[in-house]
């Protein structure tokens, strides 16, 4: 069922059954840690999400769309128990999926959506993302300072990062005779790795290794640079087992592939099943992807939506997220709470905000260059 789960949840979502299983165990801990107060207690005490102003207490109902299994199971129920705000959860399989839904409804239909950074940027540029009221998000002080400077949304005016991480190489250290450290190990593989390599198929990550090797921005819109990357990727395709966005770590576990392009968090799902699997950020660098929470401008209950964002920004909630999905959260206070045993087992989970920003550049929306990218990607995937 591993592959099925991940297929449904899809790109940039999560999760293997192993992660889910772990989560179940961890959540028991989280439950006791973040025990939901009784309703009377909620009313009596000023909770951290109460706003300093005299605005009425948020209430009512909000609709959230997120990837499946991307939130601790009790997060929504605890939030509702504490605030009285009802939450309806919708699921999307990919960024593209939720963008399609929003697009089709001209920017409406949800109060909060979870999308990756460039999509948050597109929502903001389309005027569909609400400008966040930081006064209602006192917990945003928990965010790492670096997480406030990401150039797809400087100052987090329209989005709050939920998780973040890198894209690198995930490999079988027991079956590969050397230690990979460069994107060239993927693009120009040694004989032993030919036919045992996978790369990601989604446009941004398909192009990323080649652009980094060539020393270009991962957000380039220059046709000449894209053309060069294309040639390199067409050459690399000859030694590729498959393009794979969702089951690459399973291929490592079965030894069908020995070296794959992977998001750090997903490599962890492989490590969970086989500790000989290792992750490395290549020396040419990485992206700095982040999945964000965006309140839509069309939301009719923005106070409740802010209350939710503020709730997620609590250290103990961030900790539960990181321990569920094995992704880093950009919440310094939350990362301090993460179980050290997990950090030892999944070294990339311990990467600091400073390391992340040093390795990686955030993906940006491609704007008018998107059709060109689509064309180049089609030329690569259709090429022989």
């Amino acid at each position: 069922m591993t592959v099925m789960e991940t297929w449904r949840t899809g790109t940039r979502g999560i999760r293997s059954w192993a992660a889910v299983g772990m989560a179940a165990v961890l959540l028991v801990g989280a439950c006791t840690g973040v025990a939901s107060p009784s309703p009377s207690a909620t009313q009596a005490t000023a909770t951290p999400l109460a706003t300093p102003t005299e605005t009425p207490k948020p209430s009512g109902k909000i609709v959230i769309s997120n990837w499946d299994l991307y939130m601790p199971e009790n997060l929504l129920s605890d939030f509702t128990a504490e605030t009285g705000i009802e939450v309806e959860l919708a699921l999307h399989t990919t960024n593209e999926d939720i963008m399609g839904k929003i697009e089709a409804a001209a920017g409406s239909g949800f109060d909060i959506v979870f999308v990756s950074a460039p999509f948050a940027e597109a929502l903001a540029k389309r005027g569909w993302a609400a400008k966040l009221d930081k006064g209602q998000l006192p917990n945003s002080v928990n965010l790492a300072p670096e997480a406030d400077l990401l150039d797809y949304d400087p100052g987090n005016q329209f989005s709050i990062p939920y998780t973040w991480g890198t894209t690198g190489l995930c490999y079988r250290s027991d079956l590969v005779s050397f230690t990979p450290d460069s994107w060239n190990d993927l693009l120009r593989p040694r004989e032993e790795l030919k036919g045992k390599i996978t790369m990601m198929a989604t446009d941004r990550w398909l192009m990323l290794p080649a652009l980094l090797v060539l020393g270009y921005s991962i957000n380039t819109t220059d046709p000449a640079e894209l053309e060069q990357a294309k040639q390199l990727l067409l050459e690399a395709k000859k030694s590729l087992l498959a393009y794979d966005d969702i089951t690459f770590y399973a291929k490592l576990v079965s030894a069908e592939a020995l070296l794959v392009e992977a998001w750090d968090g997903w490599c962890n799902y492989g490590i969970a099943e086989n500790p000989d699997i290792k992750y490395v950020v290549p020396k040419e660098g990485s992206d700095l992807w982040s999945d964000t929470m965006v309140i839509l401008e069309s939301s009719t209950n923005k106070p409740a939506a802010h209350a939710f964002l503020n709730y997620v920004l609590r250290p103990e909630v961030g900790k539960a997220v990181a321990e569920l999905v094995y992704y880093k959260v950009p919440n310094t206070k939350a990362m301090e709470l993460v179980d050290p045993a997990l950090l030892a087992q999944y070294p990339n989970l311990g990467m600091t905000a400073a390391e992340l920003t040093q390795f990686g550049q955030p993906e940006r929306d491609l704007g008018d260059a998107a059709p060109l990218w689509a064309q180049i990607v089609a030329e690569i995937t259709a090429g022989q």
Binding site: M4, W7, D97, M99, K125, D244, V377, A378
Partner: protein, 285 residues
């Protein structure tokens, strides 16, 4: 007057459904194909023919050609496997036919995705086919069974074979056995009976089965993704990518129309075949 009302009442729901959920959306698709993408997705209502010029790019024509080839191969193999199977079932004693047909449609009870993943388990380099063969020393190197055109055809064939067998079964079962008996009595050998009586009289079933297999094969994007390893894309992947990844709805609409036009053409061919066949089967009935 009463007649008109009765007609409206009877036709209304179906016609309304068809208009609202097929004709109108198709017109929207047609309209979008003449507009262009906005900077951050969406549709800008500037009239342009650029999308059609782009669709003629050799790249997209090549993808369409590859898709056609895969769909044609799948359909032909499905016919070669499906016809004998349907013939066999249709000529069993009546009480056996239903259980046999149930076996044919049994795979539909499981999700298409799960069944497709099952093929990965079978075909991969460390899979249930290669491993035993390697261990027994029958092969030295794993057979390249997965992540290629072969795997795509296998996946599509497996998924859509029942859609070939069912209409063929219906056509063969409907055939009056006396016709075959008459041919035999008049001295025709079984093989001749089959090709001069059975096949011509079941051409409707053949045409229907072929269309049922060909159309979804041509538009499929899951199988090339999973079993083809994304290494060769089909037109379905292209359209999916335009709508979702590039958020270029106008160009996606143009590619969709190209696919629809191609399918319509094939339906016309099918209708021709059936019409040619009709007098014969009419007499037979």
């Amino acid at each position: 007057m009463g007649r008109t009302i009765r007609r409206l009442v009877l036709l209304g729901p179906g016609l309304g459904w068809w208009l609202a959920f097929l004709v109108v959306p198709l017109l929207v698709v047609l309209a979008y194909s003449f507009f262009r993408r906005g900077t951050f997705g969406g549709v800008v209502f500037d009239f342009t023919l650029d999308n059609y010029v782009r669709a003629l790019d050799p790249l997209y024509v090549r993808v369409l050609w590859f898709s056609l080839r895969v769909a044609v191969i799948t359909t032909l193999v499905a016919l070669l496997i499906g016809y004998p199977a349907a013939y066999y079932i249709a000529t069993r004693p009546r009480r056996w036919r239903t259980p046999l047909l149930v076996f044919i449609i049994l795979p539909f009870w499981t999700s298409f995705l799960i069944r497709t993943y099952a093929w990965i388990v079978l075909l991969n380099r460390e899979g249930l086919i290669n491993r035993p063969l390697l261990n027994l020393g029958i092969i030295e190197q794993p057979l390249p069974l997965l992540y290629n055109e072969f795997a795509i055809v296998i996946g599509l064939l497996y998924g859509y074979l029942p859609l070939m067998i069912l209409p063929l079964y219906a056509a063969i079962e409907r055939l009056n056995p006396e016709l075959r008996e008459a041919a035999t009595n008049l001295g025709a050998r079984p093989i001749k009976v089959f090709f001069t009586v059975t096949v011509p009289l079941t051409l409707t079933g053949v045409a229907a089965g072929c269309i049922f297999v060909f159309v979804p094969s041509l538009g499929n994007f899951i199988v090339p993704d999973l079993l083809g390893g994304g290494r060769s894309i089909m037109v379905g992947n292209l359209i999916q990518g335009q709508f979702l990844k590039a958020r270029d709805w106008p160009f996606g609409a143009t590619l969709s129309l190209a696919l629809i036009a191609l399918m319509l053409l094939l339906l016309v061919v099918q209708a021709r075949i059936i019409n040619r066949d009709r007098p014969a089967s009419g007499n037979a009935a």
